[in-house]
Amino acid sequence: MHSSDRREQQHRKSARQRSLLEVKNLSMLFPARRRLGQARAWVRAVDGVTLSVISGETLAVVGESGCGKTTLGRAMVMLARPTAGEVSFDNIELTKLSLGALRAARRQLQMIFQDPYGSLDPRQRVEDIVGEPLLIRGVPRRARRERVAELLGLVGLGPDAAPRLPREFSGGQRQRVGIARALAAEPKLIVCDEPLSALDVSIQAQIVALLKDVQQRLVLTYVFISHDLAVVRQIADRVAVMYLGTVVELADAAVIFQAPRHPYTVALLSAVPKLATRSSTSQAPPLVQGDPPSPIDVPRGCRFHPRCWLRERLNNPEICVSAEPFLSGGDKHLSACHFATELVRHATLDFDASASLSAGDSR
């Protein structure tokens, strides 16, 4: 397709730094439960996503629940086989590897999970949990034990955490264990799947600080999945906004928070009080209307058009219903909207890019 070629060219042009993980036209479709007699329907969890993750950066993937970001994250580390498209890591096409070869190659991609209570085996001691990647690699027992102690120290847990069971720890501490486990495999890239969502607010700040610290020390690349824009603001270099299985906007973090170019992003940002201040005209902030549609029944044309405030403002242009917009717009700031350039005129909010969200701020 012509526009996707253009996209690729732009990506390559702008990639002065090495791209570590590349995702091309990735789709994850699941068969949908249907009533007897209906045609076969598909849940389009991820629908044709193309992204690259640059070495050393933190790429955030944001969106509402159900937009496909978790599925994307899992597809990126090949925990689920993509229905279509490819995943390349370090120029190796993971999607073409056999299961055995994949198992050997996948150490470099790790994941931190959302649920601190479900992500640790309740019957294993912390030292065994963190040590498992080492055990699988064949590291002998004493070396394992030393390394585990090191890792625990790195994430802020003392050595007396090692012989304990997960149930003896709080949510925040369990996440630290999860981080230690991910680090044990010595990965180059870690997908953080909503690691803060299940934690208390005060703990969230600690974990974010830990993640940043670790990234700096060990030179890691992160893909940070979250629905919480305020947190993303603190940690991300670039942000990808997802809606209904596709990426609708992709830009550097600073740019996207200051001057978003997609109506959905605008709406998302306006919903976070910290990030938006009312403009002097004090018009009602653009809200996303209606209910989120199901990924089985994707709207025609632009996916967002049934809920798009901009479309309403522009008196329902036909193109929104007839043609699906693709990511376009220069090499650094991509947006999938037919009217991205008009957006600026119609946004009624100033986004306070200098708002700081250091730990300790109450919400």
Binding site: P133, Q173, R181, A185
Partner: protein, 310 residues
């Protein structure tokens, strides 16, 4: 760097819950004692004064007396001694059925649950078909098949097996029959558990770390399936004992003169009108044992799944 504020190690939670449960329910304590008694008697059977096989025709069908505390049977053998030997048989049955259920049932359940897909469907179809076969009926068929092959003239290939059969007094036949029947429930239960656990995030984490399927089964699935396996055993054991007694009752279980509670009950039924005491002892023995097993089984199930409790 934060210090660890872990709660004091509560590794003994299960033990604590078990002891408090026993304190709360007198029936449970009684049942455990009863089972311990049965096990003790079974193990100590050879120590009893009158052997179970010693016939004393002159004193047959005797009511309980000072010499024979439970009386004598139709061939003059001491009922008490035979009862103890029967306890032994039941104990062996209990242990074997648990082993079989665990070995075969867990393996099949794990395989089916973890592999999923076509293998799972195939295995489950097989298990469902086995379920359609009424268990007692199937057991009778297998038992008679085994007896037919192993007792009397056995084909050359099976000769060593037949030797073992004879040595065991026919018990091997029962064990083989059990091998075919007692793994079903376990397989089903384990499979459901594996299906539930399969998508846990820690399993995903292991996969990411490069674990093979076998590793995951050994390190994660099996330990976490332990409660379910225990629950399955609480169903398997009483069922197996019942089955053995039933088979022996209609004559295709153990071979005479091996005593089993089932054969003793059958004999007791025969002389019901004239010597009722011959029925009472084995009937009480098996009834009490099964009752105790059920009470303990209930308690174990409650222990591992508090949601099931009141």
């Amino acid at each position: 760097m934060s210090a660890i504020e872990a709660s004091p190690s509560v590794r003994s939670t299960i033990i604590w819950r078990a002891t408090s449960l026993i304190r709360q329910r007198p029936a449970l304590a009684l049942s455990i004692l009863c089972l311990a008694l049965v096990a003790l008697v079974a193990l100590g059977a050879p120590l009893l004064p009158y052997g179970p096989f010693k016939q004393d025709i002159l004193h047959r069908n005797g009511v309980p007396s000072a010499f024979h505390w439970l009386g004598t049977d139709e061939l003059g053998r001491d009922v008490g001694a035979r009862l103890a030997m029967g306890a032994r048989v039941s104990l062996i049955v209990a242990i074997s059925s648990s082993l079989i259920a665990v070995a075969i049932g867990v393996m099949i359940g794990m395989l089916s649950g973890y592999l999923g897909g076509f293998a799972d469907t195939l295995i489950m179809r097989f298990v469902d078909s086995m379920y359609a076969f009424p268990e007692t009926l199937f057991a009778i068929l297998i038992a008679s098949l085994v007896k037919g092959q192993l007792s009397g003239q056995a084909p050359a290939l099976l000769e060593p097996l037949a030797e073992a059969y004879r040595w065991s007094g026919g018990l091997l036949g029962v064990l083989l029959t059990l091998g075919f029947t007692c793994w079903l429930t376990t397989a089903r239960l384990v499979r459901s558990q594996v299906l539930a656990l399969k998508n846990s995030e820690y399993i995903l984490a292991s996969q990411l770390a490069g674990a093979s399927g076998w590793f995951i089964v050994k390190k994660h699935l099996l330990p976490n399936a332990q409660p379910v396996i225990l629950v399955a055993i609480t169903f398997v054991v009483p069922n197996a004992i019942l089955l053995e007694a039933g088979l022996s009752f209609i004559g295709i279980g153990v071979d005479p003169p091996t005593p089993s509670w089932g054969t003793m009950i059958a004999a007791g039924v025969q002389s019901l009108q004239s010597y009722p005491h011959l029925l009472i002892a084995p009937a009480l023995a098996i009834g009490a044992t099964l009752l105790a097993l059920n009470v303990v089984g209930d308690a174990l199930r409650d222990l591992y799944d508090p949601a099931l409790r009141r």
